[in-house]
């Protein structure tokens, strides 16, 4: 493991141990997060409940009736001391997205802020390859890093009224496709018909943390036809 303060172990109550691998959002840190997450799940301890990876940390959950916090810490330290096997190659998913109105309420604003045409914003967004850094907030909310520099805009100071599921939203280096109706301070520049959470599908979440995402532009008629294709 690298020198310095990381990895750093911090108690998160009596049911969680937070293992921090850095304090920034970057791919190298995320790789270490996912390697540890995989190692832990491959070799869990008695009383382990679940492992939750985020940008730069893993929350190790445990049942305090089954295992003591110090035993959890010892297990985690032992795992950290071992070399982790290389991760399997990340899966690549292509998500269709329609950038037409009324699906893109903030596209004009983003174009203006970036000094670009709307078409150039769309082209820039399509040029990116994105990485699923983590899920958070709501079911299936995948935080996708990799928004090109030219169209990075800070999030709005205040969340805007409820946006429908499927909204493609950007803020800073991140983008996400929403899965529930919720207010958001992110900039909505399109909508995807892809079902990231599908309660009727055996595999209920379309992608995993660490997967790669590309976007494919579709027209409105393709968007409308999407749901009818078996």
């Amino acid at each position: 493991m690298p020198a310095g303060p990381f990895p750093r172990l911090r108690a998160a109550g009596d049911q969680g141990l937070l293992v921090e691998f850095g304090d920034s959002v970057d791919v190298a840190v995320s790789e270490r997060v996912l390697a540890f997450d995989a190692a832990l799940r491959a070799r869990p301890f008695h009383g382990f409940t679940e492992s939750t990876p985020s940008y730069a940390a893993v929350l190790v959950g445990y049942d305090p009736l089954e295992v003591t916090p110090s035993a959890v810490r010892a297990h985690v330290e032992a795992l950290l001391a071992e070399p982790h096997p290389p991760l399997a190659a990340a899966a690549l998913h292509e998500l269709p997205v329609c950038y037409e109105q009324p699906f893109a309420p903030d596209l004009a604003d983003v174009a203006q802020r970036c000094g670009m045409s709307e078409e150039a914003v769309i082209a820039a967004h399509l040029s990116g390859e994105y990485r699923v850094f983590m899920f958070g907030f709501a079911p299936g909310y995948g935080y996708l890093g990799g928004v090109p520099e030219a169209i990075r805009v800070p999030r709005k100071p205040n969340p805007v009224r409820a946006r429908p599921p499927g909204s493609l939203a950007i803020a800073g280096p991140m983008c996400l496709v929403t899965t529930v109706t919720a207010p958001t301070g992110w900039w909505v520049i399109g909508r995807s018909p892809a079902r990231i959470v599908d309660v009727d599908r055996e595999r209920q979440f379309l992608f995993e943390v660490g997967d790669r995402i590309r976007f494919r532009r579709i027209r409105r008629d393709e968007f409308d036809a999407f749901g009818s294709v078996p």
Partner: protein, 321 residues
């Protein structure tokens, strides 16, 4: 098989179907949900001899009124100091009783407590998602929010006369005015003086209180320096401090990640008692180590086991998972 059907005549806000919770999906952004007071929920289920994955109705101070329009079923009620009645006749607020076609079961708030449970000798019909019928309030996947005019069906409904009895209110089901916390994981964002105020001054529960969490009022807890932490996964019971400086205690429907520092996490043993506080109630915090908190969790589990043995009901695993 027989069934019982209730017409929901009244349902206050936040009246939902809950089971133990939906575990194992935090990594996909899916919070556990489940009961706000896990011990009261477990007692209601155990008093009926229900299986571990049974669901119940959770309600809060808005209360609920259910008219039985078909069949009969034995019901267990537990949690907080609520008033429970059948056709206006009080039944034990903590107790097991039966209700038959034509009768109305009402739950109203009493002098204390925020959450109470109605468990049924049978199976509440509600959609399952990821193996659980706990209602995920944010997404509406799985579970059910009760609303006036709905029908609530209990499949395989039974009358279990041998189970009917009053339940003694366990002392461990009272609200807790002093709550144990484990400091961290991001206490480094706070000055020592701020930590001292967290642990020595009194906070009040605001009326911003729902299943996601409750905002506290009291001394402000300012964040030192620039906030440069990436969002991290957080457990239930986290005390998160956003820019306004008021701590927010995150509960059953907490978001799975947060980008604000968590100054402390409530000891799991005290989360039920904290949940039973009401808006305007006061609370103080005392720091313990993770080992001490885990030890208190084992003590609490032991006390519940004894309580259930004294009831003569089968021991049920009551803890988190």
């Amino acid at each position: 098989m027989t069934r019982a059907v209730f017409l929901v005549e009244h349902a206050g806000p936040l009246t939902t179907v809950q089971d133990r919770g939906r575990f194992g999906y935090l990594r996909y952004g899916v919070t556990e949900a489940g009961p706000m007071d896990r011990q009261a929920f477990a007692i209601a289920q155990a008093a009926l001899g229900n299986p571990l994955n049974a669901a119940a109705i959770e309600t809060t101070i808005g209360g609920v009124a259910l008219r039985c329009i078909e069949g009969e079923v034995t019901v267990a009620s537990a949690g907080g100091g609520f008033h429970c009645a059948v056709d206006g006749r009080p039944v034990g607020a903590w107790g097991v009783f039966s209700i038959r076609e034509g009768s109305v079961l009402t739950v109203r708030p009493g002098y204390w407590g925020s959450w109470t449970y109605l468990a049924f000798a049978g199976d509440i019909v509600a959609p399952a998602w990821l193996g659980s019928r706990a209602t995920n309030v944010l997404s509406d996947f799985g579970g059910l929010r009760l609303q006036a005019g709905q029908h609530l069906e209990i499949r395989d409904a039974e009358r279990r006369p041998g189970r009917e009895r009053d339940l003694v209110l366990p002392v461990t089901s009272r609200p807790r005015q002093e709550v144990r916390v484990v400091l961290g994981p991001q206490d480094r964002f706070f000055a020592p003086e701020t930590i001292r105020r967290l642990l020595s001054e009194t906070f009040t529960l605001s009326n911003e209180y729902d299943r996601m969490g409750v905002r506290l009022q009291g001394p402000k807890l300012p964040i030192v320096g620039t906030l440069d932490m990436p969002s991290e996964a957080l457990p239930r019971g986290s005390v998160q401090v956003p820019g306004h400086g008021d701590p927010i205690v995150l509960m059953a429907d907490h978001q799975t990640t947060g980008g604000y520092p968590k100054i402390a996490v409530l000891a799991s043993a005290d989360q039920d008692g904290f949940a039973q506080l009401r808006s305007r109630d006061r609370v103080t915090f005392r720091a313990v180590t993770a080992s001490q908190a885990a030890s208190s969790a084992r003590t609490r589990a032991g006390a519940l086991r004894q309580y259930l043995q004294a009831l003569g009901v089968r021991e049920q695993r009551s803890a988190v998972h």
